[in-house]
Each structure stands twice: as structure tokens, then as C-alpha cells.
Symmetry: C2
Subunit: 207 residues, 2 copies
């Protein structure tokens, strides 16, 4: 993408976003209603923290420290975490599923605008997936069993998209030409939203 930020900025944001996604997943592990759910979501948490660490390792390769590179983005990403914090365990699992899916997709797209070597390594980091199937499994049966839960989670899923898109947009390097920037961003976000719709479909919910 032409709006990809410089490498260290990309990595600082991507690493801190991933650490935040991990925190959300590990909270879902801690609060899981059954030991089976705990163990299953533990797998997603592992994938997420491994991705974070690999991104942090990339930061170290540039000669910077992971903490310093992430620091400028913590306030904004912490805000995102706060507003996407759900009212119960199910909402929080939806948050993990929807925001990890969207943001991983986004950072994969954004990495294509980096120079070839780090772009390739970063693509590999994200290729491990995020254990989405595990989250779908935990949610789908509960949703199928309760129309009330289904409609509540459908609404929650819709609310999440706005806040998630804001974090993604804040990661872009805009030029002076606002109109041409928007023309470039639009098709990317159209795709990301289509993927979001498919994600909600997998839960049996309307996006």
C-alpha cells in the first residue's frame, strides 16, 4: 500500500496491537466458563503472543528496543482496548474474534508496502493464523441455542467495526492529497469489511 508507514512505525504499532489482542485473549482464557473453553482459547492466546514476540524481534533487528518503538502508540491502542471491552465473556470473545481478524488482515495488507525483506518476514509472522476456528467453535453453539444472545452479539459485532477501523486508519501515512489517499484506502477497507461480514456469517450472525 502506498500509505504504509516507515518500518519502525509499522512494527511499533503492529507489535503493540498484537500485545493488546493477546491481553484480550488471555482475559478470555481466565474467564472461560469451562475448562474446555479455557484450553481451547489458550491456543489462540499462544498464537497471538508468539506473533507479538516475533514482531518485537523484528523491532530489535532494526536496532531499536521493542518498548521504545511501541511507546508512541500505547495511548491510542489502550483507548481502543477500553472501548472494545465487552460486557460479558461472550462479547469479549466476539471482540477477540472480530478485532484480531480485522487487524491481522489489515497489517498483512499494510506490510506489502514495506521493503521486500521485512515484508516477507512479516508475512510469515502473520501466516500462523489467529486460531479463529477455536473462537468460532466456542461462540457458535451458544449463539445457535439463544436468539437473544445472537441478537446482542450481532449488535456488538457491528459496534466493534467502527472502533477497529479507526485504529487501522490511524496506522496509515496520509499524503497531502486527501482525495487520492481516500481513493487508495477505499478498496482495501471494502475488502476488510467483506472479510468481517464472512466472519460474522461463520457465527450465524448478520454483520
Amino acid at each position: 500500500m502506498e500509505l504504509t508507514p516507515p518500518l519502525l512505525e509499522y512494527l511499533g504499532r503492529a507489535a503493540y496491537v498484537q500485545l493488546t489482542l493477546f491481553e484480550n485473549l488471555s482475559r478470555a482464557v481466565a474467564n472461560a466458563p469451562t475448562v474446555a473453553a479455557k484450553a481451547a482459547i489458550g491456543r489462540s492466546a499462544e498464537l497471538s503472543i508468539t506473533k507479538h514476540r516475533a514482531l518485537a524481534d523484528e523491532i530489535v533487528k532494526t536496532g531499536s528496543s521493542a518498548a521504545e518503538a511501541m511507546d508512541p502508540y500505547t495511548a491510542e491502542v489502550d483507548d481502543f482496548q477500553r472501548v472494545t471491552n465487552g460486557g460479558d465473556w461472550y462479547e469479549n470473545v466476539v471482540t477477540c474474534y472480530v478485532t484480531s481478524g480485522f487487524l491481522d488482515d489489515f497489517f498483512i495488507r499494510l506490510a506489502a508496502g514495506l521493503s521486500a525483506d521485512p515484508a516477507r518476514r512479516i508475512a510469515e509472522i502473520y501466516s500462523s493464523g489467529s486460531g479463529e476456528d477455536v473462537l468460532v467453535e466456542q461462540l457458535a453453539s451458544a449463539i445457535a441455542a439463544s436468539p437473544r444472545l445472537a441478537s446482542r452479539l450481532a449488535m456488538w459485532g457491528r459496534r466493534l467495526v467502527g472502533d477497529t477501523m479507526l485504529v487501522a486508519r490511524a496506522s496509515l501515512h496520509y499524503t497531502d492529497n486527501h482525495k487520492s489517499d481516500e481513493a487508495r484506502i477505499e478498496p482495501v477497507f471494502t475488502e476488510l469489511i467483506a472479510a468481517h461480514t464472512r466472519r460474522m456469517d461463520s457465527l450465524g450472525l448478520t454483520a
Copy 2:
């Protein structure tokens, strides 16, 4: 150890204990006062969840499910988690450091009583360490700077040993000969407590 339980029982407990240690570490990540502490403790959390998953994989190898194997021990280990939950971030990091150190050591010792093949694989799982150095680093400077914090954490460390030993003891398979059991256990616990004392020393605290 002669008091080692059957493999599946060993694995169920060890895996659930490790999941609990991971939960404590991930809470320490989420509540870390600085982004540097967050990133550093993230590494310990990663080591811990990877160990949990490897132990869960060992359960699957026996033909059981991880959730079913862990289920009988959740109430007891959840109690342990509750009573070792500290009053602030520093106490919780001490909990992570002291209980992970002690229980990893204990389950390594206990694994020696299993049959050769799983014993070897389990030794390998635990050989990745638990990122203790990272926890020491986070604590040591704060302790050196505040005598009041030092004495509070020294007291907290002492309190933790009792509850941690209880969880360890509950994992043993006692025979009918109580006296000979105790004679076998005693030297093991003496070693584990010596290691605990070294751990507290590393923090500049008296055990």
C-alpha cells in the same frame, strides 16, 4: 519419585497448573506499569502458555482430551490461584516468580517417576525455563529503591510458600505407609525450599 501419580493424572494436574501460572503472568502483562514491563513479561507468558500446550499435547497422545484430563483438578488449583492473588502488581509478579519457579521444579522432579518415554519428553518441555530473569529484573530495581516495598514483598513471598507446597503435596500419590512416604518427600521439599530461598535472594529479599 516413588510417589509419582499415573501419567494421565500427572499430566492433567501439570497442564492445569501451567495454564493457571500463564493466567497470572498474562494478568501481570495486562496490568504492567510500563510498556517495557509489559513487553518483557510477555516473554514469560509466552514460555508458560507454550509449556501448557505441550503438556496438553502429551495428554492428547494418551488418547484423552486435555479438558477432561484437567477437569478433576480445576477446583483445587483455582483455589490456589485465588489465595495467591496479590494486592497489587508487585505482589502478583512475586506470585508468578515464586509459584512458577517452585511448581516447575516440583513437576520436573515428579516426572522422573514416570516411565522413560514420557519422562524424557516432559523434561524437555520444562527445559525451556520460565523467563524468571525477566521477572527478577522487573522486581529487583523497585525493591532496591523502596525498603517498605521490600519488606512487604518478603512477607508475601513467605506466605506463598505454604499454599504452593499444598498444591504440590496434593499431586503426590501416597501409599499406606505414611511414615515412609514422608521420609521420601522430605528431601525433595528441602531442595525445593532451598531453591525458593535462592529465588528470594535474587530479589534481595530474605526468604
